[in-house]
Symmetry: C2
Subunit: 342 residues, 2 copies
Amino acid sequence: MTSPRVSFGIDRRALLAGAAAIPVLLGLPIPRQAQAQADPLASWNDGATKQSILDFVAAVAREGSPDFVPAPRRVATFDNDGTLWCEQPMYVQLAFGLDRVKELAPMHPEWKDKQPFKAALDGDMKTIVESGERGTLELVLAAHAGMTSDEFETIVKDWLAKARHPKFNRPYTDLVYQPMLELLAYMRANGFKTFIVSGGGIEFMRPWSEQVYGVPPEQVVGSSIKTRFEMRDGRPTLFRLPEVNFIDDKTGKPIGINEHIGRRPIAAFGNSDGDLEMLQRTTLSGGVRLGLIVHHTDAEREYAYDRQSHFGKLDIALDAAALNKWTVVDMKKDWKRVFAFE
Amino acid sequence: MTSPRVSFGIDRRALLAGAAAIPVLLGLPIPRQAQAQADPLASWNDGATKQSILDFVAAVAREGSPDFVPAPRRVATFDNDGTLWCEQPMYVQLAFGLDRVKELAPMHPEWKDKQPFKAALDGDMKTIVESGERGTLELVLAAHAGMTSDEFETIVKDWLAKARHPKFNRPYTDLVYQPMLELLAYMRANGFKTFIVSGGGIEFMRPWSEQVYGVPPEQVVGSSIKTRFEMRDGRPTLFRLPEVNFIDDKTGKPIGINEHIGRRPIAAFGNSDGDLEMLQRTTLSGGVRLGLIVHHTDAEREYAYDRQSHFGKLDIALDAAALNKWTVVDMKKDWKRVFAFE
């Protein structure tokens, strides 16, 4: 958690940023160490993919560039599942939901004979998948409603602290892509405001997005359920209701972006058909824009999947990428490293 | 519009902020001019009200204070109508709606005989008010839907450029409260992130909030109608539908804050019963918090109204202010100046 301490108008980070530039201001020689700056995208192999990112940032963030965009309009939106962290063998939030249904099962004896809950308790993924959107929604609402927003935050944090990925046997928050962490930081260093725009639950991501991605809660956009304001023992709480409020996927992404951000992004990053409309809205309205798709091609270091995948299906968005000249990351070829722990 | 130009990691504003502090770092004598800093709340008269603001900021933003709050959690939320700008003799957005209904009337001959449109065309405020929430909503939807989000932004900007306040004969954006502008800037200088949280339309405020208040679109929370994503001539647009999405008023305010910001504010500013739950949620959960109510007591320089007012009614929130020790601004007594043009 970053916690710059500010008092009486002097911001330490601003101070340091300013101090670092003093030699330039005063015409002093710049230390060699500072000249030979580390590659901000060190985990990206050199090539057309990496170059397209560098070129875009130079075009919009370098003063005097004909395509210069003022900093407040440098909005970049990132999908989460499959773009910033691993979404296989199932969405992390689904793993959370299944664990939570198991935990709540003693209070719901009827679930033993009721689908899709029975399947969840049996770990029967096939039946869950076959229960479709409606079945999945029932599971999600059972797992995510019925408590205050503060209580839910604690539940998410506690689960993430102990849950482990079945293949890598590590906390899910270790399974974020190192090249994308570098990309987030690189964009921010160039005056971009970085947002997460995910089909996942907004309240599922916020408890850890700042620590893991450097993206504060107010820059997270996601799906949500409705809440009700109520006083409990003199304390104002928000109680989470088993009712969908907003689905931040497909056409929902540009709608959610408009609602939360109120500006059109100039760069958007995704990996599946759920990101199609966000990339269209970002790139098809004139100006130099960056659309980028992470293509999972690395069965060895992570997973390889696209057109036929159940989670993170990349089919029409892959065709659209070719049509619209979006950058397609070939994970196997373009990423020197996938995870930080490698 | 602020447009700091950032390139290659060097932010000019940060540079200037840092440069100003260099004498302190180097132990150099500080120029007298810099020592005798201007009062950041120059338009506030000295007294208990102003002191409560200064004390709060010192308590949460001064490092080493027992009540210190790290900068990322320094969230402050401001109501708009009646808190940041004038809401009499009617909400600015209602004036916009009435003008727009007049403009659209030639395409809707049926409005001549249909309430509340007839009343809007006749300028019959009594009938509009009597048409209640349902009638007002009909007017709002007629005025705010049926175009793309980009088109609506242009409509709002064009209207604000030519509309004049009936009493002051000035653009509505001149009728923002100078003391509140100073307060917004003072909070930001002390590491606060300032948000607008208004019952007004989110898309009605965003086109000018940055220029007028220094609050960027992504930090504006408000009421909204639904939008539909659609491709028009190969360009992705958001079309505004005549259907309510969210009402950001009363209990809607803490809900909207949770949805957009995802953090509980530590300071909240309002002026009416519509702000009650936002102030409760902000102040009644432990820790040093600031709740502030602007009480309109100045019939000469602005307006005097509270418990019986049709717009901006301040009744139960005024009682709650006494109960919860919220700061109540007596506009006549506490503000040296109301508007910048005085």
